[in-house]
Symmetry: D2
Subunit: 146 residues, 4 copies
């Protein structure tokens, strides 16, 4: 069963309600299936760091957003799910342009959900520019309380 | 010998020259010694996530900036030093207000520099809100080329 | 209050009861205070890897053991506390001889306990040979059930 | 081109020559292709921890070995390649029996090689018991010197 338990609109509403920095990211949702999310983010000169590559925090924010969405494809809207740990490896120089993040869930526990995500430069070969693993903690009340 | 090999002004120049998102962060430099950096960042409502805590990517950006500065206290200005891996643990709910990041270097190698950083809510007890470990790769030409 | 909630003998009993590989490690307990543990492990030729340095899994096992003990200094005997994530950085070449692991707790939550640990070659300067951060999950029944 | 640049026998020789703890692991090599390695390890009562699950350090050692082999499928025999960082997530309770580790390379750089690995209990559904990401540093002389 691969139907997502959250719609794109409901996910965007979670961001608008409580996470303005996420809502402000101009991302597109390419795939939203249970345990599997693909986001696409345009980046430009404001996102760069020395060496004309996309800054690490931009990649981190995209990775975090993709896994946050993936968690909700499994558990439904759960704004209060929080990242407890995140490990990101920067693998190649990411260039400005479209970044594509593909997240999948590795574990869907009652208390902890773990996912990983690879980020690629759209249309470029050579492999991912970043890989991240992230754990989200599911609140005891499943995060639905305000 | 604890004298930093980069001044605050030179560090800010590195950001202005190539990393607009870092230059835009309204941080203060509290300590800048060799291998030891303390930054202080005000946060507000735009930085929050559901639960009224500071969003993870904001903490990541601050941690990354503090270790980036710490690397340059040891090696001098080196804009092209790049993060190769980063692991962050979110420990407590960070509230809006001043965040204080304390970075130290654990290893100063010719090719890799490793540091860790703890982030606290200024004036609050109860321990750090986040801890991160990060590796920076030193470019073969030591990052001084444009 | 810094009194450990587990004695060295009770910690060794936890290992003998359920973790023969831990019980078999010839470690000494140097410090066992609440949230703070120091272990000392002799290593020899059987622990080496190419380059005549101590193999990574030996360092990982020591780091894991030190944080496992640290968790129980806070929570009391809790054999079923389990590692959920661990990140280790290998910083310098560890030589055979005594390794000293110093663990501290960064967060003592009801569900997750996070600690970090540095490992040094006893009697050598130049900084730690490894640093690890680890999360332990506290079972709902606090791990006291068989 | 997927042909491994190291044979199983050459890999075992690297372990016998310099890493007795790796050579002592009773693993089988199921797949050895360029950038892709599958190892199979029997585990028994000596490998357990409280809760009758396989101890974390055993999983770490298997993950490390699989990525070490994967590095050499790309670079050829390179005993002195060393792990610089490793992050492992323990996802489900691993039971004694055969563990299967599948490693792939995410980046094959001149200085750093990054891979990840998933470990499963053979014949069980429900997803991986562990996931790890590891970086190996390639020595300047490519690790062939004694």
């Amino acid at each position: 069963m691969t139907t997502s338990r959250i719609t794109e609109e409901a996910f965007r509403q979670v961001l608008r309600d409580g996470m303005p920095s996420g809502a402000a990211l101009p991302f597109e949702v390419t795939t939203l299936e249970r345990g599997h999310v693909v986001l696409r983010l345009p980046t430009g000169t404001g996102d760069l760091r020395p060496g004309d590559t996309v800054a690490g925090p931009v990649l981190f924010a995209l990775a975090d957003l993709a896994v946050y969405a993936a968690v909700m494809t499994s558990l439904g809207p759960m704004p209060l799910a929080v990242t407890t740990d995140a490990t990101i490896h920067f693998l190649r120089r990411p260039r400005a342009g479209f970044l594509v993040a593909r997240a999948r869930l590795l574990k869907e526990g009652r208390r902890l959900v773990v996912g990983d995500v690879t980020i690629e430069n759209e249309g470029e070969e050579g492999g991912p520019v970043a890989h991240a693993v992230m754990t989200y903690s599911v609140p005891p009340d499943r995060g639905t309380a305000p």
